[in-house]
């Protein structure tokens, strides 16, 4: 790893959404967890507080020395003791053991028709936000993309890597690869899944924004909408895809208001939603307060975790799939 290139400039700590939140102190920060902890292993496991990070990549994006901070912190997580596992993370693992997904599945509209394209909604889309999945699926159909939604596909494994359960993640990958081998194309709504499929599985999965870019959807949405630009879309997958998110919506006729901070983390990633729910919702609450002060009618995002975490603060949040779906 390249931690020894750290010049101690603190750019990472200033960029960190957790350290910048009133409920964030306690987290040692990206420099503490990503640079110092791995270099001083004799100090022992830094324990549960190492998990108090949303994996938003803001620190890595800010680092002038190009240090792979998130990767370094992920490694630290995979070395955590089983005893350090947070209650919320244990729950995720229990769910995986019983149903293959991090949350229990509510979705009923499986489609297993032998299409060449697989729409892979992800655990949140199948468990908590089934309306998101239904809207995205009808949008794909409207765009002429016939697709399956397979009940045999399980969690992509990304959240498991984030909580340090590497073995379980590998297991899930093997199960999914069998399903994916029946398809030519995989489309996701969750940038976390897209990244995982690309980086870990080595398949060229597409995020919904990338699919929408080449098409010409129209929106009947009224009102003024701000964006929540997902971390794993902008700083993980592609900063260009994040730029496209806005242009697709504008081209579709949505009144989009660009606000500073739209690309800051919602607080929902990296296992924080389950692991540190208070800090996670504090970050979301402060972010929603910022959105409210701009007088918008709601927020459009492209990540189920953002939808869930910000939506819980009582503001209207739509996924890009919902914003552009044909009216039912």
């Amino acid at each position: 790893m390249n931690e020894d290139r750290c010049i101690k400039c603190g750019s990472c700590t200033r960029a960190c959404p957790v350290l910048n939140d009133p409920l964030g102190p306690g987290f040692p920060g990206p420099r503490g967890a990503g640079v110092d902890a791995p270099r001083f292993p004799e100090r022992d496991s830094i324990g549960q507080i190492a998990l108090m990070c949303t994996m938003c990549h803001a620190c890595e994006w800010a680092c002038p020395s190009g240090i792979s901070l998130t990767l370094s912190m992920l490694r630290l997580r995979s070395g955590l003791n089983e005893a350090d596992r947070l209650p919320g993370h244990r729950r995720m693992m229990d769910n995986i053991a019983s149903c293959g997904r991090t949350v229990s599945t509510e979705f009923k509209g499986w489609r297993e028709e032998g299409n060449r394209t697989l729409y892979f909604p992800g655990c949140i889309g199948l468990g908590r936000l089934t309306h998101l999945t239904e809207a995205a699926s009808s949008l794909l159909t409207a765009l002429g993309v016939s697709h399956d939604i397979s009940s045999a596909a399980v969690c992509c494994g990304s959240p498991l890597l984030k909580i340090g359960a590497t073995g379980v993640a590998e297991d899930l990958r093997r199960r999914n690869m069998e399903v994916f081998s029946r398809y030519d194309r995989v489309i996701t709504s969750c940038p976390g899944c897209t990244n995982q499929l690309r980086e870990v599985y080595g398949i060229r999965a597409e995020h919904m924004v990338e699919v929408l870019k080449g098409s010409d959807p129209r929106s009947k949405l009224d009102g003024r909408w701000a964006l929540q630009v997902p971390c794993h879309l902008k700083r993980g997958l592609s900063p260009w895809a994040a730029d496209d998110m806005a242009s697709v919506l504008v081209a579709a006729g949505v009144d989009v208001v660009r606000v500073p901070g739209e690309d800051c983390c919602c607080g929902g990633g990296g296992g924080m939603l389950a692991g540190f729910p208070e800090t996670s919702s504090s970050i979301a609450r402060n972010k929603v307060q910022m959105y409210r002060s701009t007088g918008v009618d709601g927020i459009i995002t492209a990540c189920p975790f953002c939808s869930l975490n910000l939506g819980r603060q009582g503001i209207r949040v739509l996924d890009i799939g919902e914003a552009l779906a044909p009216k039912r």
């Binding site: 750019s11 002038p64 997958l237 895809a241």
Partner: protein, 349 residues
């Protein structure tokens, strides 16, 4: 109209993009990471030679007024700081130092060093006292975050009214949009409010944010978080570049290039053994015995290939350029000035 690719998101890259966009060029600026500009004190220490007018126009901002001329201020350890253009609360007019200063510290936070500061103030003939605010902030937490609530500002104003000095010295903690809070605080407490001149903190970030907004406002397309990994050069002409961001890589075409990638600190230049080296592996680097001064060579304003050929459409600006006159602290003025000269050289090409 032609396409110009600007590489580097610091003062030199942002100023040259703004100048080019104002002249009607189609500019794409590619930059990754925090630039030195963000790590600086955000104060322009020396008077820029040729671009004062453009620079003043470039740096206007509704949130943060500037003071211009011979100025003096104090660092977070109380050392005197002289400069030429600074945010209004950073400095006083040279020769009009306050007679007494209260240094304000926040419990447990290294943003200001009261003991050292007080003794250095006394050594300068300034009466010093100090005030420790009863707010505890862990050292890794940015003060900007701790001072986001109205409550902490009220507490600060109340505490400041109890001091007997003419001026108070605060750690730097206000972001650009909230710079007006310092004026409000000055009214509330009836003392001159000074922000310690601090590198690696909010002042540099404010400066970069301001420049970024100006460039974007002039129509520059900013590709943040992306790095130019290779240049496509045919003979003496840059024709395009490879840009990578996230897990994606793109090829872009261009009619000209401004290289404003900064010094070795931000990976603008490589350090190879004891020498500076071009990360693109294309251009000549002029060495200097002073590490601060080495950088890309130029001939009549244009960059030079390793084989000695003068480029037809590539110029360099800022810390990545060889400059015999660069000293500690002269970086920002030098970066702005060389950006203007680079743009002039491109126009003449």
């Amino acid at each position: 109209m032609s396409r110009v690719l600007v590489i580097g998101n610091g003062a030199a890259g942002l100023f040259s993009s703004w100048l080019l966009a104002r002249k009607g060029q189609e500019v794409v600026l590619v930059g990754r990471g925090t630039p030195s500009t963000s790590m600086s004190t955000g104060c322009i220490r020396t008077r820029p030679e040729g671009c004062e007018r453009e620079m003043a126009e470039f740096l206007v901002n509704e949130h943060m007024p500037w003071a211009v001329g011979a100025r003096a201020g104090l660092s977070k350890i109380g050392t005197p700081f002289r400069c030429w253009m600074a945010p209004s609360h950073s400095t006083w007019k040279y020769g009009e130092a306050p007679g007494s200063v209260t240094v304000v510290s926040i419990e447990g936070h290294p943003a200001i060093h009261v003991r050292i500061a007080s003794s250095l103030l006394i050594a300068q003939g300034i009466r010093a006292e100090h005030l420790s605010l009863p707010i505890a902030v862990p050292p890794e937490v940015p003060l900007t975050a701790a001072f986001r609530s109205e409550g902490s500002w009220e507490l600060l104003a109340k505490a400041l009214r109890t001091t007997s000095s003419d001026a108070v010295l605060l750690p730097a903690m206000v972001p650009l949009r909230e710079y007006g809070r310092l004026d409000a605080l000055e009214r509330q407490c009836g003392r001159k409010v000074l922000e310690a001149v601090t590198p690696l903190g909010p002042p540099g970030l404010r400066l970069t944010e301001l420049m970024h907004a100006r460039a974007a406002g002039a129509g520059v397309t900013i590709w943040d978080g992306r790095r130019v990994t290779a240049l496509d050069i045919k003979g003496d002409t840059v024709r395009g570049a490879t840009v990578s961001g996230g897990s994606e890589v793109k090829e872009v075409a261009t009619d000209a290039a401004v290289i404003a990638t900064g010094g070795p600190l931000v990976d603008g230049l490589n350090i190879k053994g004891r020498e500076l080296d071009d990360p693109f592996g294309v251009f000549q680097v002029a060495r200097s015995t002073d590490a601060l001064r080495g950088g890309y060579a130029s001939r009549e304003g244009m960059m030079v290939r390793v084989d000695g050929r003068r480029m037809a459409n590539a110029v360099a600006a800022g810390d990545c350029v060889y400059s015999e006159r660069r000293d500690h602290g002269s970086g920002l003025a030098g970066a702005l000035d060389s950006a203007r000269m680079a743009v002039m050289a491109l126009e003449g090409a």
